[in-house]
């Protein structure tokens, strides 16, 4: 099913949770709504499910208006962040619930439940109660329950939020495979960029109730359209800078810009893996820390007149030779973007380089 959302608005008191949002989702695709907590992404999802009503704007399922349709009538599967399994029902009864309330015959329900149990790898657990399952298993029951009535749209609210890191990685790949198998149009909400990029066909970045960018993972990574997206995606360094033509200066740091920016004061945004650094005296920075994790090495250095900068390298990179705390280094920025400072006053510099 194709989803179209037009000029959706939702306020809670004076707080605009969703502020004039429009987008489209192609039939059969898997889309991530990515944003920090409180950005309005969950509210957006709840409006699509009919659990919340929009103040204004329209929702279209294919070419039919779903704006005023009751949640019960939407044919939307919803997977809640904390699963919301019916605690007094068994796994099988949970999965069959959506069919049972529609009056489907017992035999047909049993057939569908068994099908879903094997699809979700829960065979043999059908008589368990939710309290007797692990987090990952509960998540899969919630998914099977949502899929049982064969929804035309599947919505998932932070589907990987409540399980531990290892299970999360497994679930992620499994959900992608499941989506390709079932083929149902799916939208999921996440605050984890890695998750959004790993699983989805398209990513919609949401911030303060508005859409910052809507594109494929590659487009979002390579062409962030706003300073928010540039800073939200990946590990970044941000410096106050002066732009002249294609070049930006911040203290001793000089960067050639990817796209030309208006001359004047700007915020210079550099990804931690978009720079090179090598030992050189006098250079422009002093190395403070070198931390290795897995196959990556993070170097933290203090740039003269600009402040701390973080650079990431593969562990075996030849650039890392002789780099140690206290030594002087030269820095070359391979890719950088600048955003006019006055337009970005919304984003304080303090929240940089995490």
């Amino acid at each position: 099913m194709r989803i179209r959302v037009e000029n959706l608005c939702k306020r809670f008191g004076s707080f605009a949770a969703v502020d004039d949002v429009s987008f489209e989702v192609e039939d059969g695709s898997l889309v991530a709504l990515l944003g920090p907590s409180g950005s309005g992404k969950s509210t957006l999802l709840r409006i699509l499910a009919g659990l919340e009503s929009a103040d204004s704007g329209k929702v279209w399922f294919d070419d039919e208006s779903a704006t005023d349709l009751h949640a019960r009538m939407r044919g939307v599967g919803f997977v809640f962040q904390h699963y919301a399994l019916f605690r007094h029902l068994t796994v099988a009864q949970n999965i069959g619930f959506g069919l049972d309330v529609r009056g489907v015959s017992k035999a047909a329900i049993r057939k569908k439940v068994n099908e879903l149990l094997s699809l979700t790898g829960l065979t043999g657990l059908d008589q368990r109660f939710p309290s007797q399952l692990s987090g990952g298993q509960r998540q899969r029951v919630a998914l099977a329950r949502a899929l049982a009535p064969e929804p035309k749209l599947l919505l998932l609210d932070e589907p990987f939020g409540a399980v531990d890191a290892k299970v999360r990685e497994e679930l992620r790949q499994w959900i992608r495979r499941l989506h390709d198998e079932v083929g149902v149009t799916s939208i999921f909400v996440t605050h984890d960029q890695e998750e959004a990029f790993a699983v989805s066909d398209r990513v919609i970045v949401v911030h303060r109730g508005r859409i910052e960018q809507n594109g494929t993972p590659m487009e979002i990574l390579d062409n962030p359209e706003s300073e928010f997206v540039a800073r939200f995606v990946g590990e970044v360094n941000v410096f106050p800078a002066t732009v002249r033509g294609q070049t930006a200066h911040s203290g001793a740091l000089e960067a050639r810009l990817r796209d030309s920016a208006p001359s004047g004061l700007a915020h210079l945004v550099i990804r931690s893996y978009d720079l090179k650094l090598w030992r050189e005296d006098p250079g422009v920075a002093t190395v403070q820390r070198v931390v290795t994790f897995g196959d990556r090495v993070r170097v933290q250095a203090l740039v003269d007149g600009a402040g701390p900068i973080i650079a990431q390298f593969p562990r075996r990179s030849s650039l890392l030779k002789n780099i140690e705390p206290g030594c002087r280094v030269q820095i070359e920025v391979t890719t950088a973007r600048a955003y006019p400072a006055e337009a970005s006053s919304l984003y304080p510099l303090a929240a940089t380089a995490t």
Binding site: G50, R72, F80, A84, V101
Partner: protein
């Protein structure tokens, strides 16, 4: 053995090195020894107090009943007045439990799940019967519904007699038992949240199906607990029932007012017998409450 001995030697050697810190230890040790005594004292005091205030009177009642003699008590209970009083209490309790279960559940659903103007006021007012003396409630209803009460013209026209008759007893019992089911259900509804109900809605369940298949099963033990509390309260109500009903023997006398009147008239056999009947029903209720309490915890 060998290890422990060598350890002791090492410890002695170490203690000679820091004799000053070893001196500080005895006070610490003495305090540690005091703790179990304190704990025992606390537990002992609580048990003594609860024993004196809860078990003592019940024991006294049992002993006195034995004194009067069980046959005499049974004989007194078999009198028409006693039977009518007991029947009256059972009827009132049954009505109160049924009405308060329905009203409590619907009221709690309205208070917790709906947003309406004056919701907080309704929520607070629902506790009024807990805060107010039953005798006062009785008096207030007499002023409202009695012979010269505010609503008496209306009541006279319908031809209904409320004060000193069955409807008055019903009103009194309903009023005092109202908060118990309501409070329990409000608490459980808040605890379980709305996610399961929302999930049911997205799965195609109607409001009716959501209530019977999701909400009610989730609140059943809390509701059961509240119902048993309301039952106990209805059965034991005295003040409001006395003032509104007048305890007319064979007409508006209940089990509790029967005990009161029997004592006044020095009919000890009847008083003790009825009291023991009520006490035994309390024991059953207590067991029921324990059972519900154990299950109502939200997993």
């Amino acid at each position: 053995m060998l290890e422990r001995a060598s350890g002791a030697v090492a410890a002695r050697a170490a203690s000679s090195e820091r004799a000053s810190s070893a001196e500080a230890q005895p006070t610490h040790l003495r305090w540690a020894h005091l703790q179990p005594i304190g704990r025992a004292a606390l537990v002992g005091l609580v048990c003594l107090y609860l024993g004196a205030i809860l078990i003592g009177p019940l024991a006294a009642l049992g002993v006195e009943l034995a004194h009067v003699g069980i046959p005499a008590a049974l004989h007194a209970l078999a009198q028409p007045d006693a039977i009518s009083a007991l029947k009256m209490s059972i009827e009132l309790t049954a009505i109160s439990v049924v009405v308060n279960t329905v009203v409590g559940t619907l009221g709690a659903l309205a208070i917790v799940r709906q947003r309406f103007f004056g919701r907080a006021v309704v929520n607070a007012l629902a506790d009024l019967p807990l805060a107010i003396s039953p005798v006062m409630i009785g008096l207030a209803f007499v002023l409202l519904l009695g012979r010269d009460g505010w609503l008496s013209p209306l009541i006279d026209r319908i031809g209904l007699k409320v004060v000193f008759s069955f409807p008055g007893l019903v009103i009194a019992t309903l009023f005092v038992a109202l908060p118990y089911t309501l409070r329990e259900v409000v608490y459980v509804l808040e605890e379980i949240g709305t996610n399961e109900e929302e999930a049911a809605a997205t799965l195609g369940a109607s409001a009716w199906q959501i209530f019977w298949r999701v909400t009610l099963p989730n609140i059943r033990f809390g509701l059961g607990y509240g119902v048993l509390m309301a039952l106990a309260r209805s059965l034991g109500e005295f003040g409001a029932v006395l003032v509104l009903g007048g305890s007319i023997s064979g007409q508006t006398q209940t089990a509790t007012t029967f005990i009161h009147d029997a004592i006044e008239e020095r009919q000890t056999a009847g008083a003790y017998g009825m009291a023991v009947v009520l006490a035994l029903s309390s024991v059953l209720l207590l067991l029921g409450l324990e059972w519900a309490k154990r299950h109502k915890k939200v997993r």
